[in-house]
């Protein structure tokens, strides 16, 4: 029994990245290195207004005074910021009218990833704002959304078209001085998505964006801003894959969400950046600051993430529950294999009265990887009757990996109830035996058990995404998931 399990784990841990390929698209970049001039060039290239340049420069100067955080349970080789290209855009200048005008090679890339624009457009009714490297190449379904008054476009476009909205909300949830990588992003962010749902509107489609790092040695600094006005609802999907590279690539994104009274945003992510090969060479460094602000009463923000990629993940999607009766949710499956390292979790900051939050985190470690949950539940003195429930489970596959849990609970209110529970274990022999005596092969049994283990989170994903997430789990734990 143990033997066959070892073989499977060995197979699982020695598998290569399936999505490793590079697309040859002409890309324009500005050379390596970071300086105030680079920040100015990026801003000029995007034809940005003065206030935005000031925003960037302020953030850059702040960044210079900060140090890379070392508190996470991660071993990261030093990042040389002068070796990184901070801006790269596919050479496509003219506006596109239809899919036919999109570079066929680009479309091919999407097809390889199984995210064909046409298919999605026709079949699933999902509007896709596809981001290759730093510039949004194609936005679809804009017309449908426009009728509802929903704004969904690339960040740089929104800067030109809706400067007031951007000015009002950008940096309101994640200020540039928030942390080292947020400051970096605020200084050099290239592009991203902007989404605004007006009062009382339920988005008829699920909005999604696919990120993809392409040109070699290009740091990608996405910035996403989602604003749901009173009574609005939107479900937003984000998925990532990246081609195989030998050098570590840096990815430092910011996602900001603001929900007003009675509004709800559901943000789902499937993250599958290149994790490095089985010897730990290469892979993406993923440092993301994701935070939502439940500004109004009865508002809700829900984060769901399936993390299978990246050599290093540093990511804590958070909710600031400011409005009374607001709700924050975090559902996560994080899989690490080979030499991957993940330090991920959530922060729930209860400020308003009767606020509720739920954290469900499932970590799966295999190979020589390290998977840490790090979370904070903070209840301020005014957050009467607030409630939190956190559950963080870790599953260990193989004797050389690590699973760690670092929860922080700070409460300052006598009417609050906070519960945290966590378990760490391997797949029990009893479970395996039970599955196998029903005629399942050892590998199918592991698959079944892992799937069941992650079900609680996968169930939270929108239908369109759940299938892809399961596929990713399968690829990440090759041959063990049915």
């Amino acid at each position: 029994m143990a033997k066959s399990e070892d073989i499977i784990i060995d197979e699982v841990t020695s598998s290569d990245y399936k999505y490793g390929f590079t697309t040859d698209i002409e890309s324009e970049d500005i050379g390596k290195g970071l300086s105030e001039d680079v920040v100015r060039i990026i801003s000029a290239k995007k034809n940005e207004p003065e206030w935005l340049l000031e925003f960037r420069l302020k953030a850059y100067r702040k960044w210079l005074t900060m140090e890379q955080p070392d508190w996470a349970h991660l071993k990261i080789s030093p990042i040389d910021f002068q070796e990184i290209i901070f801006y790269s855009a596919p050479k496509k200048k003219k506006e596109l009218e239809s899919l036919d005008e999109v570079d066929p090679e680009l479309l091919d890339t999407f097809n390889k990833l199984g995210i064909s624009l046409e298919e999605q457009k026709v079949l699933s009714g999902v509007a896709v704002d596809a981001v290759i490297d730093s510039v949004s190449v194609k936005t679809t379904f804009t017309d449908v959304l426009e009728k509802k008054g929903i704004i969904f476009m690339s960040f740089s476009e929104a800067v030109q078209k809706y400067p007031d909205l951007i000015k009002k909300y950008m940096g309101s949830v994640v200020p540039p001085s928030d942390n080292y990588f947020a400051a970096l992003n605020s200084a050099v962010f290239s592009d991203g998505s902007f989404c605004y749902i007006p009062k009382g509107v339920r988005s008829p489609v699920e909005l999604s964006t696919y990120f993809r790092i392409n040109a070699a040695n290009t740091g990608q600094f996405e910035r996403t801003l989602i604003v749901a006005d009173e009574g609005a609802y939107v479900s937003y999907l984000e998925g990532c894959t990246a081609p195989q590279r030998d050098e570590n690539q840096l990815h430092a994104a910011i996602v900001e969400i603001v929900t007003h009274d009675n509004a709800e945003v559901k943000y789902s992510t499937v993250q599958n950046w290149y994790p490095g090969d089985k010897n730990g060479v290469g892979g993406i460094f993923n440092f993301v600051t994701k935070r939502g602000l439940c500004k109004g009463h009865h508002s809700k923000i829900s984060w769901t993430q399936v993390e299978t990629g990246s050599a290093v993940t540093w990511k804590y999607p958070s909710c600031i529950l400011k409005g009374d009766h607001s709700v924050g949710e975090f559902y996560s499956v994080a899989v690490t294999n080979n030499y991957q390292q993940a330090d991920t979790g959530s922060k729930m900051i209860h400020i308003g009265k009767n606020t509720k939050s739920t954290i469900i985190s499932k970590g799966i470690s295999a190979g020589k990887s390290h998977n840490s949950y790090r979370g904070l539940v903070k209840v301020s003195a005014n957050a009467d009757n607030s409630r939190n429930f956190s559950q963080c489970d870790s599953l260990l596959l193989g004797s050389e990996c690590g699973a760690h849990t670092f929860p922080y609970i700070d409460t300052a209110n006598e009417t609050t109830v906070v519960e945290h529970e966590a378990t760490t274990s391997k797949i029990s022999d009893e479970q395996l035996f039970y599955c196998q005596q029903r005629g399942l092969s050892p590998e199918k049994s592991i698959g079944l058990i892992v799937n069941g283990y992650a079900k609680e989170v996968l169930n939270q994903l929108p239908m369109e995404f759940a299938a892809e997430a399961q596929k990713l789990l399968a690829i990440s734990l090759e041959n063990s998931v049915g």
Binding site: V379, S399, H404, F406, I409, H420, T424
Partner: protein, 473 residues
């Protein structure tokens, strides 16, 4: 902070360094060479690190600053106290717990009780200052071997500066049947800053039960930095009860470092009733197969008290078990911090580790911070942790009250039940009874820390009285 306060804090460090240098110099001929080296290294480390600040993870929630800004007299000359006076001060029904009592008064071994106690079975209890000379061959192999805590300035300070403490040695295969009670009493007109260093060595298959009490009588500022190193050899068993009932002006920092051999057993039960700032660090290294550690505790805080319990258990080898349980009730402006850390090393398979912290928060102005950490590098393990912060169960309250018990008593009953899980684990019957009673008093607000020590005000004859509100029946 004001410049003056800042100056005091800086001066404190300088005063301590000066004192350490003076002591090292004065003892350069008489002190054991190994100890002198330890002291010098530790002095350098303390000089480098300075007092811990909130920038350090372990001290994030525990700010020493305002305490360090108080004036301390590091060279305070202690009251000379005879044994009979001390007994009066304690008013101690010394045998209440049926123990052998050893008292340290203001950080010094009490006169009349000094010298070496050797029991018939070979067990030794003696002051540290004597032990390092006459039992050097017993002390040296252990001293400073477990209290390894890089980056902890207070550990370094303790090693460099300690004068006194206790040394307990139980030989192989000896089951010492008398419980030892080590009382650490502060009653000084000076603002004492004391570093105390204890060492407990248990030989193979030996057994010992100890009660360690930290008490204070005076209301002066005091800063106690207490380190206990404990070595538990294969098959040995140590029960350690700690009772802390200090005044609100005192700072007590105790660090307990334990190393356990195969099939050994360590049970620690810490009960904190009062204290200005109490920080208890317990670090256990399970270094032999089959070792078990139970680290449990209870804290009942009110006023502006701060209690910080850090428990760090390392499973270095396979087949060990550990259990952490801390419960607390936090009232008024008090602040409680719990930091549990279970580390399972790479080859420590078949590990069972549990960790639990439950809190009841009674006021909006109180704060509870809890961090139950797991760090696991082996796959065949079963580890879990839980942490809760909440209130008394309203349904249970209703049930009790509809039986005619007034709200105050209903609350009391529920709180007693809540803390019962910890108190019931006390194996010494006298101690358990006394604790139940002390906790009852404490919860009713009848046990004040300020004027007398707990032992003084404990009145065993007076049972806890629940008033039944007859009008409700």
């Amino acid at each position: 902070m004001s410049n003056k306060a800042k100056e005091i804090a800086i001066n404190l460090k300088q005063d301590l360094l000066k004192k350490i240098d003076g002591n090292i110099k004065a003892k350069s001929n008489s002190e054991q060479a190994w100890l002198e080296k330890l002291r010098k290294d530790a002095r350098a480390e303390f000089d480098l690190l300075g007092f811990p600040t909130v920038k350090l993870e372990a001290w994030r929630k525990t700010n020493l600053k305002s305490y360090l800004e108080r004036k301390f007299d590091v060279n305070a000359i202690d009251k000379d106290l005879s044994s009979s006076e001390a007994n009066t001060a304690l008013m101690c029904e010394a045998n209440k717990y049926d123990t052998d009592l050893y008292t340290q008064y203001n950080g010094h071994w009490m006169k009349g009780a000094d010298g070496v106690t050797t029991y018939d079975n070979g067990t030794i209890v003696c002051p540290m200052s004597i032990a390092i000379n006459i039992f050097s061959e017993l002390v040296e192999p252990h001293f400073g071997k477990y209290a390894i805590d890089k980056g902890n300035a207070l550990t370094a300070l303790n090693t460099a500066d300690f004068v006194e403490g206790y040394f307990v040695y139980v030989p192989d295969n000896v089951e010492h049947d008398r419980s030892l009670q080590m009382v650490n009493l502060i009653d000084s007109d000076n603002n004492i800053f004391a570093n105390m260093r204890n060492l407990v060595v248990l030989g193979k298959n030996s057994k010992l039960r100890m009660l360690h009490c930290d008490d204070s009588v005076s209301e002066n500022n005091c800063f106690i930095n207490n380190i206990t190193e404990i070595s538990i050899a294969d098959g040995a068993k140590l029960d350690l009860y700690k009772l802390q009932n200090k005044d609100n002006e005192s700072v007590v920092i105790t660090s307990t470092f334990v190393e356990q051999g195969a099939d050994s057993n360590f049970a620690s039960n810490t009960i904190i009733l009062n204290g200005g700032l109490v920080k208890n660090d317990t670090k256990v290294l399970l270094n032999g197969r089959g070792a078990n550690a139970d680290v449990i505790g209870l804290y009942l805080m009110d006023g502006h008290q701060l209690v910080d319990n850090h428990v760090h258990i390392t499973h270095a080898v396979s087949n060990c078990t550990s259990n952490q349980l801390f419960k607390g009730i936090v009232d008024e402006y008090a602040h409680s911090v719990f930091n549990g850390h279970t580390l399972v090393a790479k080859d420590a398979q078949q590990t069972l580790a549990f960790q639990n912290n439950n809190n009841i928060q009674l006021t909006k102005t109180s704060k509870i911070d809890t961090n139950p950490f797991l760090e696991i590098y082996a796959d065949d393990v079963k580890c879990s942790h839980g942490a809760t912060v909440g209130q008394l169960d309203t349904a249970a309250m209703f049930y009790i009250m509809q039986r005619g018990i007034c709200e105050r008593n209903a609350k009391m009953l529920l709180m007693l039940a809540f803390v019962g899980q910890v108190i019931d684990k006390i194996e010494l019957p006298n101690l358990r009874a006394s604790m139940t009673e002390l906790v009852g008093k404490r919860l009713k607000g009848e046990l004040s820390s300020c004027d007398q020590c707990s032992i003084t005000c404990a009145e065993p004859d007076k049972p806890i009285h629940f008033e039944i509100d007859m009008s409700k029946v």
